[in-house]
Amino acid sequence: MSAHLKQDKPVTSNRLDGMSQGVIGKPLSRIDGLAKVTGTARYAAEHQVENLANGVFATATITRGEVLSIDKACALAMPGVLAVVDDDRLTTRAAQGTAGEAPQQSPAAVCYWGQPIALVVAETFEQARDAAKRLVVEYRVDHDAPLDPATAEAEEQVDDTVNQGDLAHAMAGSAHSVDLRFETEGHASAAMEPHAAIAEWDGDRLTVYASLQMLNYNIAEIADALGIEEENVRLLSPYVGGGFGSKLGISQESVAAAIAAKAIGRPVRVVMSRQQVFQCVMRRSETAQRLRLASDRDGNLKGFGHEARVSNLPGETFAEPVLQSSHFLYGSENRALKLEVARIHRMTAGSVRAPGEAVGMPALEAAMDELAETCGIDPVEFRLRNIPDRNPEEDLPFSSNKLAECLKRGAEAFGWDSGPRSPCQTRDGEWWVGTGMASAARVHAVGEAKARVTLKPDGTAVVATDMTDIGTGTYTILAQIAGEMLGLTIDEVDVQLGDTHHPRGPGSGGSWGAASIGSAVYLACLELREKLAERAGTDEAKLVLKDGATADGKSLVDLLGGEPLSRTGHYEPGDVEDDYTVSGFGAFFAQVRVNRHTGETRVDRMLGAFGFGRVLNEKTARSQCLGGITWSIGMALTEALLFDPNDGHLVNCDLAEYHIPVHRDVPAVEVVMVEERDPVASPIQAKGIGELGLCGGAAAIANAIYNACGARLYHYPMTPDRVLSALPG
């Protein structure tokens, strides 16, 4: 029995609001928290499998060319070495999110420095690592691989191109305008758990313990890569130690482990080193952006231009969608947007936390700050004046748009001074102190999702889906949804995730997990309630369930009568998406200090106000926002992938040299949640949260740097050397 909803129209009423258990939205601690902090939660490489062999990748030391030969005999003569696998099915690039098919294969064709070319398998990890490092490989080298995104040939992404009205005319004829160029550097996901897999065969059946975000797509990617049927593959990812996009699609380890396990007739574990995770999984493209904004005397936008150049390997369809929210965030009749992707030989560019807005919004919002200053209008007010009633390019309504409320409530909570602003007004010893703000926006998406909810004869429930929890709180919110609908505490709901034997969820990515799988659980519970109401002799709408019993004292156990009751919820995105622009909105406020001697910047405090539909768990939602804001700080001040100009290899490939913020860099952060119900976003009226928290935050810091010390910077991250070179006088 399944409860199916294809969302072709808004869902304006919601049963979640009429329930009695009182667990939905509450700031409950995550139910998997204890297992994680006590080390009993097993991550991919930690599953106990008998007779395990270990595989380590050998990686290319050329940028582009061909592997002519590998001296396998020499490696096989080393202690413990069992196999050198260079099978043509080995994947060489990370699959893009939701690909659902094998990424690039054929490891002999090298197209970036560090690409896996073979897997060395040995009894121990140390033996395999040593043999992989010493593998003698002969190459044919192509010397002319383009490496510089600024000069490489580029292709326009025509779907992104907008030419509406006459931007050049608006720029020339408006009272105020800015024409600015920004650069952002590449970013790494830098998830704590490295990419890892254990593959085990039982005849034709393959089981892979993996660290992946989207099992429903990953199973197809692995099956396709291996040339086997999806029915013969089982993926298990009960716990994932962070993904941030790097585990959306499969990377090289799971297919390699499967091929090696078949070859040697033993289960094989492959764990990437930290350096390999950096060098061969997935990067966020660097960007070069141009912002042209024009306004009339009163600060009403008359022209809006946003162009971006990003990069990727030849043959990749993904282009960092820098302009995603620029299409609708601010009104203006005259618009010109253009995205192009340069083809260069670095590792695959793909989804890294909030692809698009993560880097597009910081450029746009810094430009907005500069134009507001030119107009002499408070930057909060300037944004308020330019919020469009409808999507200015497609003439669609917004499903909901809390930008104005977030700006106002955020400003109030932060204590924003809306008086005249000019830089270099406040000094604390040798530190300049200043404030800045920026808008937040991140498009909302949903994915098809199925979940089975079973009421057991003892009156407790089991939620089962192949959905993953990558540290976000999925286990907990699904227990809350089921508990709320069925009148159970969250301890009475057993949530089972990350197993492809369960109904297919949407996977975690693009902040779509909670709204999508949450809706599937909700639909299943609604059907269960119908059945229970029938047994209780009432209507579903009148059925009150709390603490395992109806309002008139009939217990769930009695209603179930010794039999389990199970329903599968099936949520499908529908035509409603075509009728609305659906996005999360918000506002960031920051206070920073800039050292007048050294250019060091430290964030004193930060606040984010966000409108993202229904809040399912106030605590995990807030944690998502804190994470996003931490990413903002890293993007603004420290994070940059550095590529060698001669061979394109990534030089800073560990956590000592790729600088994510440390605890000391992250100050008091306040989160204001502007609760709302978005009837279009999902049947449970929730939207994505996680990524919104970094979409624009870096600009609040950049704008605060300017307000503090008068240095306008156009290059993220704003490291001390860049700040010093921009300091006035």
Binding site: T61, P79, E126, R129, D130, K133, S273, Q275, E430, H597, T598, G599, E600, R602, L637, T638, L642, F643, D644, P645, N646, H649, V651, N652, C653, A656, E657, H659, P661, V662, H663, R664, D665, P717, T719, P720, D721, L724, S725
Partner: protein, 328 residues
């Protein structure tokens, strides 16, 4: 990591004998060595664990100074009451480095011997004259953001990465080196590390079989002590530039000015001309600028690290201004 013999000698004589063997490498905290072994940057045939050789105590010396054993942990040293009271620049420098977890393992001797974090040194698939003599330098025309602007050679532009030794250089500490029970020698910290020249693989004066047994500090001075480390994130990052300063005033003039610099060179940088200029002079911004002129007279960058030259100037001037309470 290559297979290796692991030896745990119980005394210095045996340790020294083992370290005199081919391909032997001493290990104390192991925080740097084991990382480099995993990357096959270091491939010792024998690892000599020095942790059973004593040398972990911190003791007063007869002349009122302090002797810090080679195996005293960075945490123990930074928290030691005598260090905190008499040598705050050392405590501050140590606490500015690494993380608490690393400092709990890291030792005095190991810290002095830590190797550069040059990206090309730690990647065995890239050229590096330090790691593989004659293979070239990837950093000179590559990514040189971390790299040296003073005392470089056309072979190597790597920096010495540590903080502790910068403070020890300002304090004019002395390294005690033993080559067994009966033989020992003393080398000022300022002379312990070497410039790259044509032999970038030689980073310090230790000879085969020699072991650092401790570091001796002169008796404390009542001067103002400052350790200033500039970096883009506020912990767990190597210095873009750091300055250790011990400055004393008498009758409105500078009476002592011992300065050392991190992040600029293949060794903690000490330039005796700075003391010569500053001592006896009245503090003034123009004087500090002159000191920076002297310090950076022969500095040159490699594009990416050009910023270090103005940054070193600004940091030095700021530190001198703070130490002498001069308005900037």
């Amino acid at each position: 990591m290559r297979s290796f013999d692991f030896q745990q000698p119980a005394g210095l004589a045996h340790a020294s004998q083992l370290l005199g063997g081919r391909g032997a490498k001493g290990m104390a905290g192991g925080t740097n060595l084991t990382d480099l072994m995993k990357l096959q940057v270091e491939m010792p045939q024998t690892v000599v664990d020095l942790n059973r050789c004593g040398m972990a105590t911190i003791d007063p010396t007869d002349d009122g100074g302090l002797r810090i054993g080679a195996l005293a942990t960075n945490t123990a040293t930074a928290n030691h009451a005598r260090v905190r009271s008499g040598y705050p620049v050392l405590a501050r420098a140590i606490l500015a480095g690494a993380t608490q977890q690393l400092r709990n393992k890291a030792t005095t001797g190991g810290n002095l011997c830590q190797r550069t974090r040059c990206y090309y040194f730690t990647n065995v698939d890239q050229p590096c004259n330090k790691r593989k003599p004659g293979s070239g330098c990837g950093a000179i025309n590559g990514i040189a953001r971390l790299h040296a602007v003073l005392g470089t050679s056309d072979q190597c532009i790597a920096t010495y990465p540590g903080d502790m030794a910068v403070a020890l250089s300002a304090l004019n500490a002395v390294v005690e080196i033993s080559s067994g029970d009966s033989h020992s020698r003393s080398v000022p910290v300022r002379d312990f590390h070497l410039l790259p020249g044509d032999t970038p693989w030689r980073e310090n004066v230790l000879e085969s079989g020699e072991i650092i047994t401790g570091v001796t500090l002169p008796s404390p001075v009542g001067a103002r002590q400052i350790y200033r480390k500039v970096r883009e994130r506020s912990s767990y990052a190597f210095a873009m530039v750091s300055v250790a300063a011990i400055v004393e005033m008498a009758d409105g003039a500078i009476s002592r000015a011992d300065l050392a610099f991190g992040g600029l060179a293949h060794k903690p940088w000490h330039d005796p001309r700075l003391s010569d200029l500053l001592v006896g002079a009245r503090p003034a911004v123009a004087l500090f600028d002159k000191a920076a002129d002297i310090l950076l007279e022969n500095a040159h960058g490699h594009g990416e690290n050009d910023y270090k030259i103005p940054l070193a100037r600004r940091t030095l001037v700021a530190v001198l201004a703070e130490a002498t309470e001069t308005e900037l």
